[in-house]
Amino acid sequence: MSNIVKLAALTFAASAVMATVPAVAAAPVKIGFITTLSTPAGYIGEDLRDGFELAVKQGNGALGGVPVDLIIEDDGLKPANAKQIADRLVQSGVKLFTGVNFSNVLAAVVPGVIKAGDFYVSANPGPSVFAGAKCDPNYFVASYQNDAFHTAGGVAANELGFKRMVVLAPDYQAGRDAIAGFKRTYKGQVLAEIYTKLDQSDFSVEIARIRSLAPDAIYQFHPGGAGINFAKQYAAAGLGKTIPMLMPGFSMDARMLAATGGAAEGFYTTGIWSVAMDNPASKKFVQDFKAAYNRIPTDYAMQAYDTANWIASGLKAVNGDLSKADAFRSAMRKADFKSLRGKFSLNTNQHPIQDLYLMQIVKGADGQLEPKVVRKVVVDDRDAYASECKMPK
């Protein structure tokens, strides 16, 4: 008798357990995560990957209750490599892609993916081409349109009362876009536009010119190592204290900040998020990320985490069945997830409508430098290209 009772209890327990597991015992959904893990820019790819994986880990290997299988590939910062990898994955039946961290690589990957009827969700770049005339129903951007930080920079410069400014960027497309974006909203006088060499590591010459022009402030965009160099040398030349520097947040991310030391103190940045942002979800994310990887998350990690949670909302709606493309798309369009930025909604071109902040790099509670929000400079920023986008249903 007691055996029968035990058996019954066990069966009951087992059925209870099974009931909580989603009915999809099918193979996990494959997500192609193509990013740059090698080369000096590899740290950006690492943070994208780790941010995304953190969300998957927190879901116990699932996003929105749907088990996922992340296929992580290194593109080596070469568009051709990335395109090959994407084509191979598309052929092997992967229907959902993300991860790319550079605009030029993205431009090589996206057309092939959307042509096959598959989905791409950008965790970092938002080049103008895909925001305007070439927008696509299967292409979503979780991060920002590339111009957003720069146009916000112009607004911030106006608000900070900088009347005469010098602007600097490397001599390539993104550098020219940065300066054009800044000038679109900046109302003061641009004393000089200085274009640096793409591989330049010493900026003494440009810094001497800035000193001689004596502007109210400078706006500069130099990603990666060049940005670290510029900030260090600017401070070493003694200008850090006299001529304020304003820059897009990705010109001084957490890793760059760590490599710049005290040199960056007092600089202004624009951005969509900061580790110091005061909202519970964001605070928890920073804590969890630190616990999991023993470092401070960058914006890239935040964007990837948001991307993962956005994808989770889509997968949940179709129960992991990506062949229901229309259902997945309309679920994604709802953007029904909790963004670490607080506010997040989608424009008609499937790029974010979001707030942009002015931040200043100051010492936090633990004595470490971090970007602290000074104030919101743009509310519900929409990019300038959405009007050119005729989004098919």
């Binding site: 740290y43 690492e46 001599d171 536009e193 591989d199 590591s201 010493d202 670290i228 003694g238 760059m256």
Partner: protein
Amino acid sequence: MTLLIEQLLNGLQFGAMLFMLAAGLTLIFGIMGVVNLTHGSFYMVGAYCAAFALGHTGSFAAAVVAALLGAGVYGLLIEITVIRRLYQRDHLYQVLATFGLILFSNEAVSLVFGRRPPLVDTPAVLQGALTLAPGLDYPIIRLAFIAIGAMVAIGLWWLVNRTRVGMLVRAGADDREMVSALGVDIRRLYTLIFGLGALLCGLAGVMAAPLLAVEIGMGERVLITTFVVIVIGGVGSVRGALVGALLVGMVDSLGRAFLPQLLERLLTPDIATPLAAGLASASIYLLMAMVLIVRPLGLFSARG
């Protein structure tokens, strides 16, 4: 006027940095006949070792020692394991092997030190700026860079012109086979030169570390410019490397400093700005082309 002096100093400082890298490269290329693309990696290894030592001891002296040791030992290791097998081979093999070594070095450094660029603070004695003239403050670290470059130049001049090793180096640059036929252990001389070249890269690495980002691939960025320097100066000549480095440093710095303003006076801004940026980027290659038209072997070629 002060701006011009400041820009000249900037050119001098860039030249000093290029000289430290080019001196070793020109000897290796000129005497050993090896096209060594790995040269920039020694610079990176030096900078990383310096950052590592500074991070763990907090002493800049320790960083200097670590950079010199690290780069020097890595150079010797590369010479003994790889380069030594390539002396008799065609330049193409050397280019392939040393290019492979660049990739190897980059990955090895990121495995050992991690991908996060380490922080190197300017040591307290080199912080701040020195007032050279009214209205002309120049960072002390850059002045130190120029001084060290000058010291290296004097030291190398002494080594090449006043010592037995230097005599062999000069003889080796002129006629390798003859030196070897006279019973000189040319293999040991080669190892020595290679190690010395790597050591100088390490020195440049530790000096650059407080000014520049210490990052993977930092060596490749300066490598091409360094080759331009030795081609202008003449392969195998330390004097050529010095003159070439100063020329390249000046032309690059002054080009970036004054071309934009010059062109803006002549042309409309939307033509002048991109043109100036392009010309400034190309200036050192134009210089090289002009030097080669007049002196096809470079200014002070050891084999002229």
